[in-house]
């Protein structure tokens, strides 16, 4: 396709130095935990790849994912936009609006049919398509239309990946994840509420340079979602020593002890928070003193309460237990009385025996 500018040329146009580009490739390899030997391969792939058209669809979402990705530090979204992708449609970030905006999407689709990348944030309501529309088009229709010509889909954020808050009980809109609707395209899930910005850009970069990364059974790139937060958490030694914060303002909290007992979902949550961290690697929720909510996991809103330790039963077991005690006591009294009746009957049947009554008549 002659009208597709090569990245190499673009870099020249934008005055990006070779040195800056290699640095960028190295930082990419590093966030994805790839070997440094991969850096030249990434560079070569990126240099020789045409800028991929990206269509970003925002459905039932809060814009938190977009807010987050614009704060990515390495690579920055600007880097991405200028160097590697052509962000042809994104509500929040594009200048155009209304019909012009939709035209941009349709244009990009037509132009790059079969090659463009669709990024989705937000869940899709299927109970009534009217719950969420853009330019009169329901989210469901727009997703189906757009996905038809996509090379792959990246579901950014837990809403797009697993339904998120929209899908949370009682799910009034019938919100579902992208993967519930699109079955014939490769889907990369990048969950999180929001996902770590670097993870989002890293996944995009991986897609552009090396293709679809290796995914886990929940469709997440293993490079970022391979380990439980608990196993990489800097507070883990306190867990192992049995030192826990029991409240948000107690001695344990001040000492920075493990937040398990405050409901931390680190042990069951796979994400890169504890290693990549947020805001240029400054901190992450647990470091800020708050237990992990488990936001990269499906149904995290409904997983038994944010502040309930994982080991604590999630049901109404106390009330049920009390009822069981009462029921058991009643049954016990009944059983005991039956037993006493058996005994009383035997006692009533007792005829005083004499020493001569102790042999069987033969």
């Amino acid at each position: 396709m002659p009208n597709k500018p090569m990245l190499k040329d673009l870099m020249k146009t934008h005055g990006v130095s070779r040195r800056a580009f290699m640095k960028y490739c190295a930082s990419l390899a590093s966030v994805m935990a790839l070997s440094p030997a991969m850096v030249p391969r990434i560079a070569e792939a990126l240099e020789n790849a045409p800028r991929t058209s990206v269509i970003w669809l925002s459905f039932q979402e809060c814009t938190g994912c977009t807010e987050a990705i614009t704060r990515s530090h390495a690579p920055t979204i600007e880097d991405m936009i200028f160097n590697a992708i052509s962000l042809d449609y994104h509500h929040t970030l594009q200048a155009a609006s209304g019909h012009a905006a939709e035209e941009a999407r349709e244009h990009a689709m037509k132009e790059h049919w079969g090659e463009y990348l669709v990024v989705v944030d937000g869940s899709i309501p299927i109970k009534d398509p009217g719950y969420s529309t853009i330019a009169g088009i329901s989210n469901l229709d727009m997703l189906k239309d757009t996905a038809a010509g996509a090379a792959a889909i990246v579901s950014v954020g837990t809403c797009a990946a697993y339904g998120g808050v929209g899908h949370a009980d009682p799910n009034p809109t019938g919100a579902v994840a992208v993967s519930e609707i699109i079955k014939d395209k490769p889907i990369i899930n990048v969950p999180g509420c929001p996902p770590i910005p670097v993870v989002m850009t890293g996944v995009l970069a991986h897609f552009l340079s090396l293709g679809i990364p290796e995914l886990d059974e929940l469709g997440r790139p293993k490079a970022f979602f391979g380990n439980a937060i608990h196993d990489r958490c800097y507070r883990r030694p306190f867990y192992d020593k049995g030192l826990f914060a029991n409240g948000f303002d107690d001695e344990g909290a001040k000492e920075g002890w493990c937040l398990y007992k405050l409901g931390c979902k680190g042990p069951t949550t796979k994400a890169a928070c504890a290693t990549v961290k947020w805001n240029n690697g400054v901190s992450f929720p647990i470091e800020a003193g708050h237990p992990c909510l488990g936001c990269t996991e499906p149904d995290f809103w409904d997983n038994g309460g944010f502040y309930k330790p994982l080991s604590v039963p999630s049901g109404d077991y106390r009330r049920l237990g009390l009822a069981a005690v009462a029921g058991g006591a009643a049954a016990g009294v009944a059983g005991g009385l039956l037993a006493k009746a058996t005994k009383a009957k035997a006692a009533k049947a007792h005829e005083t025996v004499d020493a001569h009554d102790l042999e069987k008549s033969s």
Binding site: A331, G335, A346, A347, H350, V353, L358, E359, S361
Partner: protein, 427 residues
């Protein structure tokens, strides 16, 4: 009336109470009771594991005394107890258990297996599965005055002998005295010297006592047989006599089960506390010693050891008293291994000694006691139960053991300080 399975099962049902239910609920089949059991240790045959001996009662409890067991029973998960079962269990319950109580002491969850054997025997006897010797003894005792037959002439004669020997008057049926003494048939028949011993000691201590001519027998085969009705009848005789004579107390003699029968089971059998106290002869002697009313002179230089009767020490709580008495005059008193609460049974208690069928097993079981004695090699074995005395006499002969066996009361009397004028009533 005749013994039937239904009668037996009913008797078992009557015996099941909260302690029994808690014991069966708690057993984890750890088998530690076996390690404590005389019969298991001597034979190492798993059929003698104590808790197995009460399995039939467990089945009745489970099937008829628990809701869950009733449901399980409906599905055929708990077997009914048949007459054949009782027949199969007869030797386990009567021949291989002296109700010595060691298992009760070691059970980690605290099951009183001994007490359950006692209860098991209620069912066995009512169903006609008690050993014939025990039934015969019960008939002789309830029809007459002793399990050995009519001993009234014998007791009269033995008392006369004691009076002649000591020159101290012993009156029958004397009301208003301090104590009424009762004796075990074994003492009357085999060890009558105890009468003279008591006469001398009590005289010295200034204690008045009598013997009831119609209730001199202390043993109670109803306890060993497992028949509350028989046991009640026999206890009632003693209670009636004691209350008629208006004594302060009844002296339970050197006999293990007699002490259990009169002091601990008796009030429950007749349904009320007595109007008199029951005191074991050794308890009484130790009390007199403590009060300075029993003094000894001279020393016994023989190597002496003590055999604790199960029903008096382990099951009766009299442990230190005999030792304090022995130490008054013994220069070489040695304790055996496991002496005291964990002493090994002579093998004849609980009716086993009267049971001819059980004799080979009893002799085998004596092994445990023999090991104890062989280790300390005593000249004299002192005890405070005439039936232990009787059993040891027999097995010593069987095993060619030379040691002398003597009752504690007799031995105390031998060293009684008759000259001390400081205490007691004038002769």
């Amino acid at each position: 009336m005749t013994a039937t399975l239904e009668r037996g099962l009913n008797a078992l049902r009557e015996q099941i109470d909260a302690p029994v239910a808690s014991f069966f609920s708690s057993c984890v089949s750890c088998g530690l009771c076996a390690e404590a059991c005389l019969f298991y240790r001597a034979t190492e045959d798993p059929k003698y594991i104590p808790i197995r001996k009460v399995e039939l009662m467990r089945r009745i409890w489970s099937r008829e005394f628990t809701l869950l067991g009733r449901i399980a029973g409906m599905f055929g998960l708990v077997k009914n107890v048949t007459d054949q079962d009782l027949s199969d269990w007869e030797t386990l319950v009567y021949d291989s258990c002296t109700m010595c109580g060691r298992c009760t002491l070691v059970c980690p969850v605290g099951n009183d297996i001994t007490m359950m054997i006692r209860k098991m025997r209620e069912g066995m006897s009512a169903a006609g599965h008690a050993p014939v010797e025990l039934i015969g003894a019960a008939q002789r005792h309830t029809d007459g005055n002793s399990p050995m037959g009519d001993l009234s002439k014998a007791i009269q004669a033995q008392v006369k002998n004691a009076i002649n020997e000591t020159g101290i008057e012993i009156e029958f049926d004397k009301p208003g005295v301090d104590y009424m003494a009762i004796l075990s048939a074994q003492e009357i028949a085999e060890f009558p010297d105890v009468l003279a011993a008591m006469a001398r000691i009590f005289k010295k201590a200034g204690l008045t006592w009598t013997i009831a001519s119609d209730a001199f027998e202390a043993t109670n085969v109803g306890i060993q047989l497992g028949s509350r009705d028989v046991a009640r009848k026999l206890v009632q005789r003693v209670v009636d006599a004691a209350e008629r004579l208006g004594v302060k107390g009844v002296i339970s003699p050197e006999c293990g089960h007699a002490y259990q029968a009169l002091r601990w089971e008796g009030p429950n059998l007749i349904g009320r506390a007595y109007n008199f106290e029951v005191i074991h002869i050794v308890e009484l002697l130790d009390k007199l010693r403590a009060e300075g009313r029993l003094k000894t002179k001279g020393k016994n230089s023989q190597r002496v050891t003590f055999h604790d009767p199960c029903q008096i020490n382990r099951r009766g709580g009299i442990n230190k008293e005999p030792r304090r008495l022995l130490n008054m005059f013994s220069e070489d008193f040695v304790e055996t291994d496991d002496a005291g609460t964990f002493n090994w049974c002579c093998g004849g208690g609980g009716g086993v000694g009267a049971n001819e069928r059980a004799e080979p097993l009893r002799h085998q079981a004596f092994k445990m006691k023999k090991v104890q004695l062989d280790k300390v090699e005593p000249d004299v074995v002192v005890t405070m139960c005439a039936y232990c005395h009787h059993t040891l006499d027999n097995v010593f002969e069987e095993f060619d053991m030379e040691q002398e066996i003597v009752g504690l009361t007799e031995l105390v009397a031998e060293y009684l300080d008759d000259d001390d004028a400081g205490s007691g009533e004038k002769a």
